[in-house]
Structures are given as structure tokens and as C-alpha cells.
Amino acid sequence: MELWVWVGDFGLVSINSECISTVAYIKLTKAPVKIHFSRNPYNLLSGEYPIFRHKQVTLYNYSDIINYLKKHNYNMDSKLSSKQVSKSYTLTNMIMASLRPLLEYTFWINNCNYKRLTSAWYYNVVIFPFNHIYSSNRRKLAYGLVENTCQCMDRIENVLQQEAEDCLLCLSYALEKNEYFFGDKPTSLDAVVFAYIVPAIKIPFPINPLLKALDSHPFLKRFIKRFNEKIFDKVEQNNKYLNYTKSGLNMKYDEDEETPMSWSSKILIMGTAVCAMVLYAMSKDIIDFSKWNYVLVSS
């Protein structure tokens, strides 16, 4: 069995939450899966990691991979009662619906984060020539996801943060003071919760709404720390691919409000260039306008 995931940084095993949850699940079940850390986004032409392969089977997302592993007896949830399975299903769904959009926003949509951190990181990590196009393509995808939650881009951060806070509150009530969500053994829910919160803690985003929201949930924070130490203690804690200091990131915040070039100015520039070329061609007699004159006169 083999698994391809995004390469990690900032002390994360992978930069992508779905990859983190898959890797965490595999580590917890000790399934014999060889994990490849990839820097090429267009590997195997699927577009996004994780990608899982076993014999003839190729799977492209977390839930399919987990279901496949469960069928092959690598099941962390086998001891849960049917009620707990239902609870786990509900909370996993809520994380996908409420936490994921805020994370997508933090990574890709917030201008400051995108310019100072995300796009720079992917530019350094993704192999040439894809590093020039990956970030902007991925950003469009994130816009699509976030638009589902909120049509209006002006107040998007507030809306997403509100949703995420509701979700964190729910998780806090479910976790209480326990070591894991269901007793003292980790389950798939623990892996998912970890994967969708830990990037906000580890990655030094200049604007980080999820981290702010986490402050009021100390047990959840401690849970993430515990889980990280248990499973990913061997992951390198330093940042490898991007040289940054958080203060440096903050200082340049003012520049981020630059407006992209409008279509009308692009057309004006292109028009001027075309005129200049035509005039040059006429002056050098490269284009012969005598026939055109004939047409104009005769009509």
C-alpha cells in the first residue's frame, strides 16, 4: 500500500489537512503503508493529495481511503458503540462544513496571508514550472468553497469565524476533559479534529482567526498538543522551505492593498502598442496600404 501526500513544513507532517488526517490515521492503526511526500501538484493527474494506491485500487480522498483501510482490518473505530459512531459521523461532518472553510480562507483568500506566506511557500516548494501556476489555481478553488458558505465577500471573515466558533464549542463539549473524544483510545474523529486545527497553531499566519477562536478552548488546545507529541514527535519542528519572521510578515501589511490592473487599462496599453507597431510598419513600408486606399476610394 502506498500513499502520496503534500510535503510538510513548520513542524507539520503535511501542509494539507486532509493529508494530515490520513497520515495520522495510518500511523495510529500501524497499517503497512509507504508514505511519499510530494512536491509536484500534478502527480498522477488528479489535482489534489492524498492519493492512495493498493494493487489496482487508486483512491483520492480521506473518507474513501479510511473506508478502504477499515475493510482491510485497520479499523480504529471498531470498539465504538453505534451511538458513538453516529456522534463521530456528525462531528466529522460539522468540521468539514464549518472549520474547513475558515482554514481555506486563512490559507488562500486572506490577501495578507496569501501574499506573505501561502503563495511564497508554494512557490518555493512546488517543482518548476508548476510553482508559477499552482497558487493562483488553488486560490480559485478556495474561493468556490468559501462562496458556498457566504455570498458576500466583505463580511466573509466574520461569518466563517462565527461558524468555526460554533464548531469548536461543539467539539469542546464533546471532548470535555477526556484524553480523546471517546475514552482513552484514539479514533478517526481524533485524527480529523487534529488535522483541521493544527495548521492554525503551527503555521505562523499573519492573520489567524482560528487561533484567536481557539483561545477560549484550553482543553482542545491541550488535546492538539498531546496528540501531536504522541504521533508526530519525530517531525522536524523548524521551517524548511520559507525564510520568514512573523514581525517581518506583519510589517509589510500595508503594501497588500494594491489593486490589480483593470481591464480597461490593459486594453489601453495593448492598443497603444499595436498603434505604435502599425505606424512603424507603415513608415518602413512593411505594410502596403495602397490597395486599401483603392478600396476606400472606389466605395
Binding site: S82, K83, N93, A97, G144, Q151, R155, Q162, C170, Y173
Partner: protein, 263 residues
């Protein structure tokens, strides 16, 4: 899903408390017989059930272009005095500002539990309904296309249906539902119903003796799934395997819809 307007919220809080529930509240929705589609119908019914549970008076107004009148582009929406509010959660919040609530006796953990299950219903049942209406070829050609286009003249009916289809497909792609096959969609619906049944535990309503907005939402979706005739009735058959949910739907229908008609 939820739309919050911080400033508007504050204004509503200020004004809403002062004014009682007006008599001329109107609930706008598409035409129920000819036009409305499964997911929209579910949401309209959920809001109606919620308002009836709160014992609030309203009048249902059918408009062909209700979708385009709504501030968020989604139906249904209510017009209450100077306020126009769309979708269930904002309407619940608005009604709460009038001092009317179904969740007065609930603790914080129950409220957040309720939010988790509402999110589950939105995330699973709504997406499954959208998938069946727009991605299942048979349902799309026989039901969705003629119904959605029924209120527009040619060629607008084709253009409108096509543009709506592309919006819905984009949404499903983002949520990761577009890549599922129909069997996986049925599996999700079954998981969702199982999760709801486990939470209900054979009780009368999800949180004790009286209904909440969660019951209204589930009623809206399940009642619509059960009663809408589709070329492929698999999804209704899945829901029928969960008798405690069917009981809940019947109870809400008896208590809040049939009685009103008799009066």
C-alpha cells in the same frame, strides 16, 4: 448556510424587541405544484414548520421569481415589517429577537449539540437532494428540467435551467459530492438517518417534550423526501427504514399542519 450581518443584527436587536410579531408577515416561496424542486421545498417546509411551532401567524405567497427576490438568493424568505430575511437560521435568530424561542430551557451543550445536527442535515441531506435533482440523469430530465423551466418562456427556460445547473454542480464539486456515485450518496443518506435515529433514541422530539428548530428542519427535509414523487424512489425507501424518524415526521405533521387546516 447562515448569513450574519453584524450591523443589521444589532439594528434588528434594537428594533425587534420593541415591535411585536406583526399580522401581515409573508413567506415567499416558488410555486409548490408546478415549479418547486426537492431541496427548495424542504427548506420552505422547514421554515413553515418552525413558524407554526412558534405559533406565529404568516401567509404563504407563491412567486415564480421568489429565488431572485430573496436577499441571499435562496428560498424561502419572510417579509416582516421592514425586514426581509431568508433561510432558516437567520429567521430563527430574527424570531428570537422578538423574545420568541423554542430553545429557552436548553443548556449550552444542548444548543451546540443542536447546531451540530443542523449542520449535519444541511451538509448531507441537502447535498444529497441537490445531487439527485441535478446529477441523476433520469431525475434531471424528467423532473428537474421541466419543473425548473416551467415558469419561463422559451428560450429562457433552457438558459435559466442551464445556468442554475452549473451553479449547483460547482457547489457540489466544492463540497466533494460531485465525484461520488449514486450508491455513495445513498450510503451518506443512510448514515445521516442512522445518526439522527441514534440521537433521537425513540424520544418524542430531539430535545425532550417540545420541538425545536432542529425538528422543524428534519421534518422539512424528510417529509419532502417521502412525499415527492421521483422516477427513482430509492432515497425515500432508505428513509422509510428508520421508523422513529417517520414517527417524528408524522407527529409534526399532525400537530402543526393538519390542525391548522381544520381550523
Amino acid at each position: 448556510m447562515t448569513s450574519h450581518v453584524p450591523l443589521m443584527d444589532k439594528i434588528q436587536m434594537e428594533l425587534g424587541v420593541l415591535e411585536p410579531w406583526p399580522k401581515d408577515v409573508k413567506l415567499y416561496q416558488p410555486y409548490e405544484v408546478e415549479q418547486i424542486l426537492l431541496p427548495d421545498n424542504a427548506n420552505c417546509l422547514a421554515v413553515q414548520a418552525f413558524l407554526r411551532m412558534c405559533n406565529l401567524e404568516f401567509e404563504v405567497v407563491s412567486k415564480a421569481n421568489a429565488e431572485f427576490m430573496s436577499p441571499s438568493g435562496k428560498v424561502p424568505f419572510i417579509k416582516c415589517g421592514a425586514f426581509v430575511i431568508s433561510e432558516l437560521e437567520p429567521i430563527v435568530q430574527f424570531v428570537n429577537t422578538k423574545g420568541i424561542t423554542l430553545t429557552a430551557n436548553m443548556e449550552g451543550d444542548q444548543k451546540s449539540d443542536m447546531r451540530a445536527y443542523m449542520s449535519l442535515v444541511h451538509n448531507v441531506l441537502e447535498n444529497a437532494e441537490l445531487y439527485i435533482c441535478w446529477c441523476d440523469k433520469e431525475t434531471y430530465n424528467e423532473v428537474t428540467k421541466p419543473r425548473n423551466g416551467s415558469v419561463y418562456p422559451w428560450p429562457l427556460n433552457h438558459i435559466q435551467t442551464w445556468s442554475k445547473k452549473s451553479t449547483v454542480l460547482k457547489k457540489l464539486k466544492m463540497m466533494g459530492w460531485f465525484n461520488k456515485n449514486i450508491e455513495q450518496v445513498y450510503q451518506e443518506v443512510e448514515n445521516c438517518c442512522q445518526a439522527l435515529t441514534d440521537r433521537l433514541e425513540g424520544k418524542e422530539f430531539f430535545f425532550g417534550q417540545s420541538p425545536t428548530e432542529l425538528d422543524a428542519l428534519i421534518f422539512g427535509h424528510l417529509f419532502t423526501i417521502l412525499t415527492t414523487p421521483l422516477p427513482n424512489s430509492n432515497i425515500a425507501n432508505i428513509v422509510r427504514n428508520f421508523p422513529s424518524l417517520i414517527d417524528l415526521v408524522q407527529r409534526v405533521e399532525e400537530d402543526y399542519f393538519k390542525k391548522k387546516v381544520k381550523q
